[in-house]
Each structure stands twice: as structure tokens, then as C-alpha cells.
Amino acid sequence: MKKQKNDNLLTFYKSIHGNVALEYVSEGISAGFPSPADDFKNERINLSEELINDPNTTYYARVNGESMIGAGLDDNDLLVIDKSIPPKDGKIAVCCVDGEFTVKRLKITDECVYLMPANDNYKPIKVTKDKQLVIWGIVTYVIKKV
């Protein structure tokens, strides 16, 4: 607000927002007693906000099988995957190996990349030149039904 004129009785202000047009209220205005809770209203907890960093880079997948059971990924679990996270040694990643999707822990050494299962019944996969590997995305959350 900008003070324009000042005397002892009245002070005039000019709106800094220019002309403020009032909306025509077509529905009328109801004038009951407002709810005392209105001032304390908060948004409900939203699971997506907690689990998803960026909805535009987030995808979902379903686990089928038990090769990652030791890492807490059970059969039928739902995974939250963020493709924007760069792959790093030790991360759990969704990978495409020879035309198939799987999920494994990445072991990245100077020589090559290993896809490590978390179940003694399964063997690590050494990614050699003849194998086609795409690291598709990094797993950020596991959701399981109890």
C-alpha cells in the first residue's frame, strides 16, 4: 500500500494491485456459522508423496519368484522404481538381461558388472560382452501385502 494523502482525520491509500474487479457470485453466499475446525485443517497423509520423489520418473513392477528373498524382495511384492537415479555399486536395480526383466543387486567392479541374487539357490550373473544388459531403473521401495 502506498500512502497518498495524510491528514488528521482520514488516510487514503491507493491499491497497489490496480483495479480489483469483484467476481459476480452466481450461486449466492451462504452465511452460517463457520466450522471451528476450518482453521486447523491439514492435508491427509498421502502415501504417494512419501514414496515418490518425481512421478514423471517413477514406475512400478511386480516380483515373480524368490531369487531376491534375502534382500527383502519376496514373490509378488510391488516395487517402486525411480529411473532418474544413476546406477551405483550396491543398489538394487531392475535390469534387462538378454530380453528379460529381472531385479538384482548391482556389483560394479573395475573389470565388469555382476548381477547378484540374494538367495543361495541362484548364481550371480557376470555381465560379459556377449550378454545384453540394460540397467532399467533403481528400486527405491518394496511394498508387500501382509
Binding site: S26, T57, R62, N64, G65, S67, L79, F101, Y122, V134
Partner: protein, 421 residues
């Protein structure tokens, strides 16, 4: 600087992003009802599958060469498109979505635009699995041309090409044939060739006066844009217009009135939205229909109808109501229509409207439209529409080769093999 980001073989790339079996395999995507090929990757192109190839004619080659085919999965393509467009906002607040697989953005100052282009390409690919080509230049028309270079020389450019010097601009224009200039129609092409211009460079050497006289103000704008002076602006920068139009040629011809009604509803909705964006209202609605005049052996029909509205409005509902009335007047059954349009004129500023004592727009529409615009801006992709738009078109389609809705349906998400590996 402007950049255009163009997704490579977009539909095929979407399919491939969620199905590792398709990596390095030829793939073709079919139109609604599985009629013909509307997108194919470079492997399928190399095997001789042209755009628009009817499925029944190519069935043999498809089986012989083991070409993968898919029905159009618009839920998937729509969602992936939205992701790409939203991710581009990380590079610039100003993104103009140009089509399902192309967007212009305005880039902030940079020392190395070539690198900016590569960064965009790599980021989009990492976050979506969709490969893109990036063309960067001082104007929209030049960025489109830069994108042609990327498409022609994918290995040399590595997916990004920037016109950041005058020498590069001249070189580009000398390389670019008239045919490939963005937005040059058939008529203008012939006019330019008759004048002896074969390349974009030769086009820019013609006088402004000649171009304006022969190719109208639109041609002159294009010339300025190619000269490096930004003249073709973003849609929302364009000053308030006196006429608002949405007109399109259809991919295929339609005879069925239901289809045409839906198109007119969609065009009317788009026009009304543009109208509200510049806070105008219109007094006049015009609708036209055209058959394909190149098909001389088919019945021809071209007609338009102009209706004056009882009051000025920018409500999608009212404008569509009158557009449909106009359509009823001019539609003739048995004609194969190729093009239609909705044009709004008699525009006035909404806040300067004279209220009529008896006939005014239903005040509820104002709120409804405001809500619709807000929601559509927030969620993108014009999710809130009239029931007469689109919808049932996708219901009864033949989709024998449909892939799962990987990103829009929980029961369709990808499955990870932890059983055999």
C-alpha cells in the same frame, strides 16, 4: 535459443521401453482397428515396411522377416508423452507441446548449446527409455531444420545439433531443400520452385516484398525466422488474435457422422480454450467440411456454415452446441471427408462485455470453464472434456496385438523374473 525435442519413432520406442524382447528387433505399430502401419522403428523401415502400409498386404513379409507388430496403445503413449513433456520443464520453464512426440522449449543462455542438447537427450532417455533428437537454434524454424540434420546424420550428431554461429546457419540453409522447410505447403513449394529457389538459402535471398506478395504474411514470417530473427513465437506469446481457428486434415477420411461430430466437438473445445487464454469471447461460430479434392473419382462436397450467437461467450459447451448445429446443416452422408475446421470470429474482450438484459451466458459456465482449464493445466493432456469428444472411438476398436498398459493400470505393470534367474 529455441530447442525442438522430437521423440524418435515415438510409438515404437514406447513399446520397446517396456518390453526388452523388442530391443534391436524390427517393430511396427498399427493404426486404430489394426488397419495399417502408423509408426515403425528403423529396423522395420530397413526391411521395407512403408508408413501407411496396410496390414493385410504386408502380412507375408511381416511373418517372413519376423517383424513384431503391436496395436496402438494410446494409454501408454499418452502417459509417456506427458512424462517427456514434464521432464523437459527441468531444462526450461517455457515448454510448448507441439504434438504427442514433439515440443519446443526456450533455453536459458549457455556457453555450449551442443552439450545442452546432449544433456537433454541423455536425461530423457534415462528417465523414460525414449530416444529423442534435439535441434537448437535462435528461432523455431531453424531449430526444426537443425533437427533434420540430427535425423539425417544420427551418428555424426549423436542426437543433438546446435546452430550457434552465423556460418552454421548459412550452411544449414544451403543444405535444406525447399521441400523440408517447416510449414511449407504444396502451393508455396511450387511457387518457390518456379521462382528458381531450390534450397532454404535461396528462399531467404528473395525480397521480403516478393515473399509477402506471393506467400502472404505467413511466408514472410517463415523467411524472417530462417534468417535468424525470432518471428514465429510461442502460442501464448502471440498477441490477442481477431480470429481463432482449429482446422485439421484427418489422417484418414471419415464418412461416419459420429466421427465428424467428435472432431468438431474437439476443435470447438480447443478454440474455446484458446479464446479463454486471451480472455476473449466470440459472437460468431463458423464450421466447414471438405472432401479430398485430390481424389477426383470420389463424390466431392465442400461447405461451410456461419452462425451468429445470441450473446458473446467463451464457454466450450455453448460454442460446441452451435458448432454442432452448423455441422448438422452442412453434413451430407456418403461423402468421404478429409478436412474440417471450427473458426471463431467477432471477438471481444470478456471483461468489456455488455450484459444483455435477457440473453446472457449461463453464469455457471464461467466457473465450470475456469475449473476445467485449471485442472487441464495442472494434469496436462486435456483430461477434462465434453462427453462428445473422443471417448467411444477407442472403445470398440480391433486391437489384436495390444501391449499392456504398463504405466496406467496396476494389473498391467512389468513383471520381473526372479524364478529362473
Amino acid at each position: 535459443m529455441y530447442a525442438i525435442i522430437d521423440c524418435n519413432s515415438f510409438y515404437a520406442s514406447c513399446e520397446r521401453a517396456f518390453d526388452p524382447k523388442l530391443i534391436n528387433k524390427p517393430l511396427a505399430i498399427l493404426s486404430n482397428n489394426d488397419g495399417c502401419v502408423i509408426s515403425r522403428n528403423k529396423e522395420a523401415k530397413a526391411l521395407g515396411i512403408p508408413m501407411g502400409a496396410p496390414l493385410f498386404k504386408y502380412k507375408e513379409i511381416i511373418t517372413q522377416k519376423n517383424i513384431q507388430i503391436r496395436s496402438s496403445n494410446y494409454s501408454l503413449y499418452g502417459d509417456m508423452s506427458e512424462r517427456v513433456m514434464k521432464l523437459l520443464e527441468n531444462f526450461s520453464p517455457e515448454v510448448e507441446v507441439y504434438s504427442i512426440d514433439e515440443a519446443f522449449i526456450k533455453l536459458p543462455e549457455s556457453e555450449d548449446y551442443q552439450q545442452v542438447g546432449l544433456d537433454i537427450k541423455n536425461y530423457i532417455f534415462q528417465c523414460t527409455g525414449i530416444p529423442v533428437s534435439v535441434g537448437i537454434a535462435p528461432t523455431k524454424a531453424l531449430s526444426k531444420a537443425a533437427n533434420n540434420i540430427v535425423k539425417k546424420f544420427p551418428d555424426k550428431t549423436n542426437g543433438s545439433y546446435a546452430i550457434d554461429t552465423e556460418a552454421k546457419r548459412i550452411k544449414l540453409l544451403k543444405w535444406l531443400p525447399i521441400n523440408d522447410i517447416w510449414g511449407i505447403g504444396k502451393g508455396n513449394k511450387v511457387r518457390l520452385q518456379n521462382k528458381g529457389a531450390q534450397t532454404a538459402y535461396e528462399f531467404t535471398q528473395l525480397t521480403d516484398d516478393w515473399v509477402k506478395r506471393n506467400m502472404s504474411i505467413v511466408g514472410l514470417r517463415l523467411k524472417k525466422d530462417l534468417e535468424g530473427e525470432p518471428t514465429i513465437l510461442f502460442e501464448d506469446e502471440v498477441q490477442n488474435k481477431k480470429v481463432i481457428a482449429t482446422t485439421r486434415s484427418f489422417e484418414f477420411t471419415f464418412s461416419d457422422k459420429q466421427n465428424i461430430k467428435e472432431r468438431i466437438a474437439t476443435f470447438a473445445a480447443r478454440c474455446a480454450e484458446k479464446l479463454r487464454m486471451q480472455t476473449s469471447s466470440c459472437n460468431v461460430v463458423m464450421v466447414y467440411l471438405k472432401s479430398d479434392r485430390n481424389k477426383k473419382n470420389e463424390l466431392q462436397h465442400r461447405a461451410n456454415r456461419i452462425l451468429t450467437l445470441p450473446y458473446a461467450t467463451n464457454s466450450t459447451l455453448t460454442i460446441n452446441e452451435f458448432a454442432q448445429k452448423a455441422l448438422d446443416d452442412i453434413y451430407k452422408p456418403g461423402i468421404k471427408y478429409k478436412r474440417a475446421g471450427v473458426i471463431l470470429t467477432g471477438l471481444v474482450q470478456t471483461d468489456a462485455l455488455q450484459l444483455d438484459l435477457f440473453k446472457n451466458e449461463n453464469p455457471k459456465h464461467k466457473q465450470l470453464m475456469a475449473t476445467m482449464d485449471t485442472l487441464n493445466q495442472k494434469y496436462g493432456g486435456r483430461k477434462i472434456k465434453m462427453a462428445s469428444q473422443d471417448l467411444q472411438r477407442t472403445w470398440k476398436m480391433r486391437q489384436a496385438y495390444l501391449s499392456p498398459e504398463y504405466t496406467t493400470k496396476f494389473s498391467d505393470i512389468i513383471v520381473l523374473n526372479c524364478r529362473t534367474i
